[in-house]
Symmetry: C2
């Protein structure tokens, strides 16, 4: 098997992995919720309480749909030439949404005493644990997309390698 | 002037612009502070209260140092071949830090009633206004870096264009 074919297979496997991870992240975050009673007031923690978490779910859902469709795009078509740019756009989207969600999750965990924001994880520990899992998956998904972009750029910069395939 | 030279000049101008914008973002965020008295308790809002804002200042400061140095890297050297990857890394860094800082700024502006986090911008309006300016600069810096990466990829994918220079 030629070098380029091995690389293409490698990217395909990375894409499948990225699809699984981003889908899990979206589902895990979207399904996490916990009901608690605090001073007789019922309180439900769910992802839609925070715009950052909503953004995280939407970005990961979009990335998983993209990850499912992109292996079927023929690489010689006009769309195929745009795949590197699309990969880049989705890497940015995942980076951005994971960072925003992590920033909010940090306030949820530690609070911010200067701003008077109290941590909420002591009240809703189950919610926080599940959300952390989703964030970890989102982080891994971002890293995999970065690897895909770096691989694609490496292949694009070495046209001889591609032509040998 | 050839097409490739025009493009190189275009990227150089984008880099200078990105340097100015990221430097302004870092300085604007780092120097913003406001002292207020709330119920006789002195309270000072500054960027170092929030890890996300610290990350924003550090990322923009690093990006401006990088933006200042990179035009002096000879494009034929080993370092020159890494410039596209470095551009990508700094684009990610800026995307990530701007998103995290925006997520926290949103809570500062609107609060989050479900989590019981009150907005702070009514107490420290001057701080919020300056921080918004810094965030806008950070956002523009991120967009410029994306444009630089897209330009560089376009040039890398069209080696004939580069060889004609």
């Amino acid at each position: 098997m030629s070098m380029a074919k091995t690389k293409n297979l490698c990217i395909l496997l990375l894409r499948l992995l990225a699809f699984g991870v981003t889908l899990s992240a979206a589902i895990a975050m979207a399904t996490t919720h916990e009901k608690v009673n605090i001073f007789m007031i019922e309180f439900e923690a769910k992802y839609s309480d925070s715009p950052a978490m909503k953004y995280f779910v939407i970005a990961n859902a979009l990335a998983s749909v993209y990850g499912l469709l992109v292996p079927f795009v023929p690489s010689e078509s006009v769309l195929g030439q745009l795949v590197l740019v699309m990969d880049l756009v989705f890497t940015m989207l995942l980076t951005s949404s994971t960072s925003a969600a992590l920033a909010i999750a940090y306030v949820g965990k530690r609070g911010n005493s200067q701003a008077g924001w109290l941590p909420i994880c002591s009240q809703v520990p189950k919610y926080c644990k599940h959300a952390s899992g989703a964030l970890a998956a989102g982080f891994i998904g971002t890293i995999i997309y970065m690897a895909i972009v770096l691989c694609s750029i490496h292949m694009a910069l070495n046209p001889l390698l591609v032509q040998k395939a």
